[in-house]
């Protein structure tokens, strides 16, 4: 190795100004160079940043793309979500394991290649998919796996992209085999816009009038929660604070969503434009895009767009010649944590901390990033803001349905003919949507990702909008041959893995819920277990500290509500001996019996 650990740590830390708030960048850089952030490295980083070692360790141990133990030069991360599984990801995983001669979670003996599972990487429209370091490989088959492994064995830096995808996926700075799969464009997101058009309109107005215009447009947050954007900006603008911030949430981790990937690929100018408008409206000079680690392949391209905008005067000092309005944007990379899509966890992560959500109040609008008033909006929301500025609030409010105005991007995947991105006006019914994407024999639709709800045929007449079926955009379709309880199990496993562990109900309650579901799936559940699940789920929803725990029981609770017969079919009658059917006394006393050296009389 040409570079010693010590010199690398010193160089990386000093590039980041020895600022402990840049911890994410520092540990990511060391992970990239050395395949891990070793115990030794943590000590060095702590010393260099004049902070405590346990702070470094707390960060490294939190994010799934970071590790204190060495990984291969190449880390293959197989997407492990339900849509990939339905498309044969198990065969793909087996092919990787066979070709590499290792199991999941292992590294080849030569230390070159590590094989892992990872939750949804935002490629549900081209499954099965995986990441090979930062390179995304899609539509995998065992035959393709054989080819990929052969290339990597010959050269760990081998180019795996034979044919790049459409649009900017083919850009020299992206060069990804990813396809956009834009199946339907609308007038808000996937329509043209001259860079600077929205900013110039905004700069003709007073900041408070910009906020008034966004408020008038009735735009609500596109991440799923649906908070009125104008109101959020107003709170941030009104809050006292010397320095204010604009944060863009590009950490879409909800299983089944991939709309932000396509915006980042095709419409990044519009997103940056919206952020700049926000900066003007709330009087901020710094914007941060928090980009999920799974989309690292887009980073260089996004940086080039930022650079172009700087040279065009759309960012930097006196934006568009407006004296006193300075605004710039930096990209903060994530490192593999679903929870960082929660706005206060995202702020923690930007501050170089574990992705723990913060206590509210104070809300980010009062006290957010670096304790300054902060507006955190979704990628799609910022694009809508830009369009509202360009075309006016009335134009925007004229699209959609009731209190849900504008268009919504849907990421549709699963059992349908045309998976991909659909820009639709709010108010479309599930039936219309299913027809649009060519879904047949549909038994269930998961609306809003794992944290959303699973609905059956009775609900297919309902509308996609904030007041009925609210969604951040993830739509997963399941036909009548799918085992919906296995789907719920997969989602619960996801939440158990992704809970930050800060509060009790989410940390411990989700594990108990998952175990109860597994008991039922194993044919050992009793009628009382359904009641137990409902009570426990209610506690987790009511008592959890953030949106993750407040929605994580949904996969079980909504399948139980809408598909109860599927559960009931698996239940068994209570045991005559008075024990719970799931209680295996032989296993329970097994350890003790082994120590005693004889079988327990109770076990038989």
């Amino acid at each position: 190795m040409s570079e010693t650990l010590e010199s690398a740590v010193k160089a990386v830390c000093s590039e980041c100004g020895n600022d402990r708030e840049r911890m994410m960048d520092i540990v990511r850089a060391i992970q990239g160079k050395f395949g891990c952030v070793s115990s030794e490295a943590m000590d060095m980083i702590a010393k260099q940043l004049a902070t405590h070692r346990v702070e470094v360790e707390s960060v490294v141990s939190f994010y799934s793309f970071l590790s204190d133990r060495p990984k291969g030069k190449v880390v293959i991360r197989l997407c492990d979500d339900i849509i990939d599984e339905m498309a044969g990801s198990a065969d793909v995983a087996n092919a990787f394991a066979t070709e590499l001669g290792i199991g999941i979670g292992e590294t080849t003996a030569d230390g070159k290649i590590t094989l892992e599972h990872t939750p949804c990487i935002g490629m549900c429209d081209q499954v099965p998919a995986a990441m090979v370091n930062d390179v995304v490989v899609t539509n995998l088959t065992p035959a393709k796996v054989k080819d990929i492994v052969a290339k990597l064995k010959a050269d760990v830096d081998a180019d795996l992209v034979d044919a790049p995808g459409d649009g900017n996926n083919a850009n020299d700075l992206v060069k990804a085999m990813v396809q956009n799969n834009i199946q339907q464009s609308g007038d808000v997101i996937f329509a043209g816009m001259e860079p600077g058009a929205a900013i110039k309109k905004a700069l003709e107005m007073a900041p408070k009038d910009v906020i008034a215009e966004v408020t008038k447009s009735k735009l609500r947050g596109r991440g799923g929660a649906g908070f009125p954007t104008g109101l959020k900006w107003k709170f941030t603008s009104d809050a006292p604070g010397a320095e204010k911030f604009v944060l863009c949430n590009a950490d879409e981790g909800e299983p089944g969503t991939f709309k932000d990937r396509v915006i980042l690929t095709e419409q990044p100018d519009m997103m940056f434009e919206g952020m700049t408008v926000a900066g003007y409206a709330i009087d901020a000079s710094t914007g941060v895009v928090y980009l999920r680690a799974e989309y690292a392949y887009l980073r260089e391209y996004l940086e080039s767009v930022l650079a172009r905008r700087r040279s065009d005067g759309l960012l930097g000092k006196s934006v568009c010649g407006k004296d006193g309005f300075d605004f710039d944007i930096r990209i903060q990379m994530g490192a593999g944590a679903y929870i960082c899509g929660e706005e206060t966890a995202l702020i923690s992560s930007c501050e170089g901390l574990r992705g723990d959500p913060k206590n509210r109040p104070p809300f980010p609008a009062q006290e957010g990033y670096k304790a300054g008033p902060t507006t955190v909006n979704n990628v799609e929301t910022f694009c809508c803001c830009a369009r509202v500025m360009e075309k006016g609030a009335d134009w925007f409010a004229g699209i959609g349905d009731g209190q849900s105005v504008g268009t919504k991007l849907l990421s549709i995947s699963g059992d349908c003919g045309k998976p991909g991105i659909y820009e639709v006006p709010f108010g479309i019914t599930v039936d219309e949507m299913l027809k649009m994407c060519g879904a047949k024999d549909t038994a269930a639709v998961q609306v809003g990702g794992a944290s959303g709800q699973m609905i059956g045929k009775n609900d297919f007449g309902r509308k996609i909008c904030y007041d009925d079926l609210a969604t951040g955009g993830s739509i997963m379709i399941f036909n009548s041959k799918r085992d919906l309880l296995k789907v719920a199990e997969k989602f619960m496993e996801f939440f158990v893995d992704e809970s930050c562990g800060y509060c009790t109900p989410c940390r411990a309650g989700n594990v108990l819920l998952l175990n109860a579901l597994k008991t039922i799936l194993a044919g050992k559940g009793e009628a009382s277990d359904l009641e137990y699940i409902e009570t426990l789920g209610n506690t987790v929803i009511k008592a959890s500290r953030c949106g993750l725990g407040q929605t994580s029981p949904n996969p079980i609770l909504t399948t139980l509500k809408n598909f109860r017969p599927a559960y009931e079919a698996l239940l068994v009658a209570p045991s005559k001996d008075g024990y719970q059917v799931s209680f295996d006394i032989k296993a329970a006393v097994g350890d003790a019996a082994a120590i005693a050296g004889r079988d327990s009389v109770h076990a038989y």
Binding site: H52, R53, E57, S58, S61, F62, T504, A508, L512
Partner: protein, 237 residues
């Protein structure tokens, strides 16, 4: 600005001061709200969720939620106590607790809150996690089996001792309390007289050689339930 704020807890009107949390105002009024991660003198953590109350019908943690004029707080209701029992049960089964021979028994806040809520034994299935013990230090030891991840030692070490001996590592059910060294507690600058040691509500951070010193019958919660000291304030305002 008025210097008192009027709010209602379980139908009783009380006065609080601006800037107070619901828990602080309730304490001052002699109303006990069960808690584990909250401790006088430490910044609220909001993690155990045992102090969950309903504020105008919405669940909030009393230790972090500021009071506001006219809010209606439910504390002692069947619904809330059921939620609290579930949470305390979770804390028992996600660790390895053994009250009958734990040094902290009788002085343990987890045990005392459980008794106060009417829990004789947890109803949830035990998870039997593998947590680990650090007995490297000559005077103090950590038993992670009994840790409830309340963060009181973390905050006490940081804010009261000025040391930063502890922190959290891992995430989800793998989250653990860790020490500020690459190896063991003995390599940190913790001292047996540190406030962090006293801050532990359970038997996770204990002094060596002083266990079981107080006989049964004379321990903190042997005669009066936890919260009795707060309830003595009732009517004093």
């Amino acid at each position: 600005m008025s210097d008192t704020i009027t709010l209602t807890i379980d139908g009783v009107e009380i006065q609080g001061k601006p800037g107070q949390t619901i828990m602080e105002a309730a304490d001052a009024a002699g109303i006990y709200i069960p808690r584990l991660c909250a401790m006088d003198g430490l910044v609220p953590h909001g993690s155990c969720r045992v102090c969950t109350v309903m504020v105008n019908g919405r669940p909030q943690s009393a230790c972090t939620q500021p009071i506001a004029p006219g809010i209606v707080v439910d504390n002692e209701t069947d619904e809330i106590n059921a939620i609290r029992r579930d949470i305390v049960d979770m804390l028992f089964v996600e660790g390895n607790h053994f009250c009958m021979f734990c040094e902290k028994s009788g002085n343990c806040e987890l045990q005392a809150v459980a008794y106060r809520l009417g829990i004789a034994a947890p109803r949830f299935p035990f998870q039997f996690p593998d947590c680990g013990i650090d007995a490297s230090h000559p005077d103090i030891f950590i038993d992670r089996d009994r840790c409830i991840l309340c963060g009181r030692c973390v905050r006490a070490s940081q804010d009261l001792d000025g040391k930063d001996v502890f922190g959290f590592v891992g995430r989800g059910s793998e989250k653990r309390i860790a020490v500020n060294s690459d190896a063991k507690l003995k390599d940190t600058n913790i001292d047996v007289t540190d406030k962090a040691v006293e801050a532990c509500p359970v038997g996770a951070l204990l002094k060596k050689r002083v266990g079981f010193a107080v006989p049964i019958g004379q321990r903190k919660y042997d005669h009066k339930p936890i919260g009795s000291d707060i309830e003595q304030n009732k009517g004093s305002l």
